[in-house]
Symmetry: C2
Subunit: 162 residues, 2 copies
DNA sequence: TCATTATGGATCTTCAATGTCCACAATATA
DNA sequence: TATATTGTGGACATTGAAGATCCATAATGA
């Protein structure tokens, strides 16, 4: 269970865009050189990011990509969900097993009673709870927050040298 | 990014073992029937669980599996780590890119200074932080805790009928 | 000894992730 | 308008991990 390389690339591409906000368009060539990833593959990823409204793209001379909203409004969760998809961390594939039926009788699988509003089994409840923890954390961290921390550290370094 | 089916199977197998603590050995046949998964495949999974000390196995007549420690000491994290492995959620594969070098200069990649004790880049810090949140949650939930909740709910149901 | 049960190696299939290539559309500029 | 530039998306190849099966072997109890 790991994030894909594409997610890695997407995050780094966005960091580069966020870092270079002055010039408004960054071409795939520059991104490719910077990240050390082929243009072909990276362009697929950028395309996905565009389809989900994370970046804007303009073709033609002097075209390229730019963030479509401020870097502090692009969370890690946003990026991950675009690239990895939005399926749940855990999706049971056994709902017609003998065990599922017998667990259902005992209440492990919640149906409509007041023990829990959701019609979600207890195993899924644990897993979805875990997923929520993860999502919450990832939502609190943005492209900008990484850039900010870098800036702080870099200042700190500079001060030390005086 | 999803948990594998094997993890699903492992959790359910352990739930079955935890639920049937009376009889001390549950064979692969019973598990296979209960979960609706082939004996061959399930036995691989059980083997892994044994190698990591989650279950005990005894071959021969009347052999089978049993939990090697109380169900309340088997956390979801334990099981997931056995099956999915212990690699990190995020492992950067770009440490020799041009971008990495320039980020390193700015402090995004921490080395040994006091801005952060670890020699870990800021991107990895975010990702590892997220992973820790996830792990913490998964560590708080055990095979027993699911069985307990089921029991409570089932009691609740029974009371309603009186 | 013998039937039973778990183990581990070999092997097969499937499928998503990774990666490349190319024809085409959109754009700025001369 | 003509042209060079740049992103888009479809097709396709490669790779490796997940999922799954089979079988020879080892361990055990009766
Ligand atoms: S109890 Fe939950 S996790 Fe288990 S088989 Fe049923 S739905 Fe799936
Ligand atoms: S900055 Fe961190 S995540 Fe980015 S390339 Fe360097 S080590 Fe990897």
């Amino acid at each position: 269970m790991q994030f894909s390389k594409s997610t890695d690339y997407a995050l780094h591409a966005l960091l580069h865009l966020g870092h270079s906000e002055r010039r408004s368009n960054i071409g795939i060539k520059e991104l490719s050189t910077t990240l050390g990833v082929s243009e072909s593959y990276l362009s697929k990823i950028m395309s996905k990011l565009r389809q989900d409204g994370i970046v804007r793209a303009v073709p033609g001379v002097n075209g390229g990509y730019e963030l479509s909203r401020p870097a502090d409004q692009i969370t890690f969760l946003d990026v991950i969900q675009v690239i990895e998809g939005r399926q749940q961390l855990f999706e049971c594939s056994n709902t017609n097993s003998q065990q599922h039926r017998s667990l259902a009788e005992e209440g492990v699988v919640q149906q409509d009673h007041e023990c829990s509003g959701k019609s979600e089994c207890l195993v899924e409840q644990v897993m979805n709870g875990a997923e929520q923890q993860l999502h919450q954390y990832l939502q609190e961290h943005t492209i900008q927050s990484v850039l900010d921390m870098a800036f702080k550290c870099s200042n700190h370094e500079a001060n030390k040298k005086e």
